[in-house]
């Protein structure tokens, strides 16, 4: 037992004196989590909290176009910026180029008159079908000039599509309103009263949104809930630089020859390194989670909600940490040089992170990536954390991710031991 204790002390001393390794293992993920969460949070706020500026050029200025503009405004997504109807198209486009406006809409000049006419036709056709006489029923509908939407190319396709849908629903509302007004007028020979119009056209059914939750926990997803676990995992696996490098250094330096000539098995050194670096991964998790809870609100980022199953969180963190350490040991044992361990270690972690869904959500991945994704230990780590942080899962809910992780970690350990035996190092 004293041998293990002395080895642990030695490993901790060497680790504490490796300033570059400590900066890489703690500084780099702290910076990453801050930057990525800030960026993602600002995107989130842009999309859901701040209104997107929309230049509105109403070349029609009729009753229907005004109704249409009111309907767009009511959606709440846009900050309406009216532009003179006389503004030439070139100047309008130039204004978008030079300004910060992401969107611009031009309502054609005959918008109100044509929708008005088409509404009368549609209303009278409906009357005809009831056996009543409508004088516009025999006329054919007029083609309404399209509403033109300009957008900055930086807008994501999915975001643009949701804007399109919002504008279409506003347009549909205006058209339906016009038809109902005309229909009412044709039957009653007087304008529709406002209360009846509202009753007919306002939504009666509301949509309530609930984030998926396993145990009715009220965890509201935000940028921190996504990013803190993701970059904690990345940090854990980045110990490959320090740990893998330390194993290679030991193998290549004279100290390994002496270790081999001493009456102690080298496996003890590996056990000590695992315990030491498992401690490092736990320290990384504590530091990054604490940042999420305490520091993020101070700098305007959403706080990490740690209202999760804490025993499950500890177990998931331990298993993720052990898997990361096992991977680093495997790389350290297989690598022939320090450069191999550092280069391959770092690149492989970035690739495993990308494949595992840390950088792009896994549901966006093409089908061909599904199998490689499941081979990445970072994927299982991320899914386990998301189950806890986003769905409020308990220990039983994350076992489906913890067990594959344990299996992967054991595989790494077996590969390392076999490799040491083949190289006659143990």
């Amino acid at each position: 037992m004293y041998k293990l204790w002395a080895t642990l002390i030695k490993d901790v001393r060497i680790l504490m004196r490796d300033a570059v390794g400590i900066i890489l293992m703690f500084g780099m993920p702290i910076i990453l989590v801050l930057i990525v969460t800030s960026i993602q949070n600002s995107t989130f706020e842009l999309a859901y909290k701040n209104q997107v500026s929309l230049l509105v050029c109403d070349r029609d200025t009729g009753e229907v176009s005004a109704e249409f503009i009111r309907a767009i405004d009511k959606i709440g997504l846009f900050k309406m910026l009216p532009v003179s109807k006389a503004e030439p198209l070139k100047k309008f486009v130039h204004q978008m180029h030079s300004g910060n406006e992401l969107l611009g809409i031009i309502i054609p000049s005959d918008f109100s008159s044509k929708i008005d006419t088409n509404s009368k036709i549609a209303a009278d056709k409906a009357l005809n079908s009831f056996g009543l006489k409508g004088k516009w029923a025999h006329m054919s509908e007029r083609e309404v000039g399209p509403v033109i939407l300009y957008y900055q190319p930086i807008l994501e396709v999915s975001y643009r599509q949701s804007i399109n849908s919002a504008l279409y629903s506003a347009l549909q509302l205006v058209e339906s309103k016009q038809i109902i007004k005309k229909l009412y007028f044709s039957i009653n020979q007087k304008p529709i009263p406002e209360n009846i119009e509202n009753e007919l056209l306002n939504n009666k059914i509301s949509i309530n949104e609930y984030p998926l939750s396993l145990h009715n926990n009220e965890i509201i997803p935000n940028a921190s809930q996504h990013n803190v676990p993701a970059w904690t995992i990345f940090a854990m696996f980045f110990v490959v630089i320090s740990l893998g490098g330390s194993i290679v250094r030991e193998k290549l330096s004279g100290s390994f020859i002496r270790l081999k000539a001493l009456p102690t098995n080298y496996l003890l050194a590996l056990i000590s390194k695992q315990i030491t670096y498992l401690g490092v991964t736990m320290a990384q998790a504590i530091v990054i989670f604490t940042m999420g809870v305490c520091l993020f609100p101070l700098i305007g980022l959403p706080a990490l909600n740690l209202n999760v199953d804490i025993p499950a969180l500890i177990i998931v963190s331990l298993v993720c940490g052990w898997c990361a350490v096992s991977y680093a040991i495997c790389i350290g044992v297989l690598a022939q040089t320090q450069e191999q361990a550092n280069g391959f270690g770092a690149v492989s972690i970035v690739i495993l992170a990308a494949v595992g869904g840390l950088m792009v959500p896994s549901f966006f991945m093409p089908n061909s990536f599904r199998i490689p994704m499941k081979l990445s230990p970072l994927h299982w780590c991320l899914e386990a954390y998301y189950k806890l942080f986003l769905e409020g899962g308990k220990l039983i809910d994350v076992m489906g991710y913890v067990l594959p992780l344990l299996l992967i970690a054991v595989c790494f350990q077996v590969i390392a031991v076999i490799s040491l035996k083949v190289k006659k190092l143990i």
């Binding site: 060497i14 330096s253 002496r258 000539a261 009456p263 102690t264």
Partner: protein
């Protein structure tokens, strides 16, 4: 563990070649080194000195023949036999980030010593080698002579019965070399068998009582040094070496 054998090392019919290299480095090699010797193993570059050291310490495994340390067979040995010997490899075999004391604490534990034993041994060794004031300084900040002394102290912390030394004084000044040689002689007086190899033949003359010259895996001569010098009418080991090998050092 058997320690009564008067032979510290007994190599019988050893044959060895490196995996993948069919050339036999040792064929039916035999040598006996009695306990308490100060034995020097010499030969030109590539003669097989370091390989023989590695075989005797179990760093290389072999299949044909036998190597016994105090009667204990090293082939397929368990790790407990490693307690019998200490090894001072040619390269510094320590953690440069740690201080001398921290290195001794770690390697002492791996040699099977307890905390108190390590502490008392460290005090004695630092005192003998003049390292007491430097014991808390990280090794990478020490001079090469001091590093060599730390390297030596680590190898003997567990009072080994046999000490294998491969070029223990490379790159050190005369004073440090003499300190190391005196230290090794003291160690030998206390019962440690020294197995020494070096290209520093003048230094070897000061240290070794018996020598063996090997070349191409064969023993050319093995005897008491003073007897060999008088038999061949040579004034020193260097002259004797050139006379017996019939050539200059290779690759120099």
């Amino acid at each position: 563990m058997e320690l009564m054998d008067p032979l510290a090392i007994n190599i019988k019919n050893l044959s060895f070649n490196y995996p993948g290299n069919p050339t036999q480095l040792f064929t039916n090699f035999n040598i006996k080194i009695t306990a308490g010797e100060r034995f020097g193993l010499f030969g030109p570059n590539g003669a097989g000195k370091t390989t023989l050291m590695n075989l005797m310490t179990g760093l290389l495994s072999f299949h044909i023949g036998s190597i016994q340390l105090f009667g204990n067979e090293i082939k397929n040995h368990n790790k407990s036999i490693n307690n019998l010997f200490g090894l001072i490899p040619q390269d510094l075999s320590l953690y440069q980030e740690l201080s001398s004391l921290e290195n001794l604490e770690f390697f002492g534990a791996w040699s099977g010593l307890h905390k108190q034993q390590i502490k008392s041994q460290a005090i004695k060794l630092f005192d003998s080698l003049g390292l007491t004031k430097l014991q808390h300084i990280p090794v990478h900040k020490l001079s090469s002579g001091m590093k060599r002394k730390v390297n030596l102290a680590i190898g003997v912390i567990h009072n080994p019965k046999i000490l294998f030394l491969d070029e223990p004084t490379v790159g050190v000044d005369v004073q440090t070399r003499l300190t190391i040689i005196d230290f090794l002689k003291d160690l030998n007086k206390n019962g440690t068998t020294l197995i020494y190899t070096s290209h520093q033949l003048v230094e070897a003359e000061r240290l070794c009582k018996s020598v063996a010259l090997i070349d191409e895996g064969k023993i050319i001569v093995h005897d008491d040094l003073s007897r060999l010098l008088s038999q061949h009418g040579k004034g020193g080991l260097e002259e004797l070496f050139l006379n017996l090998t019939g050539k200059d050092y290779r690759n120099q």
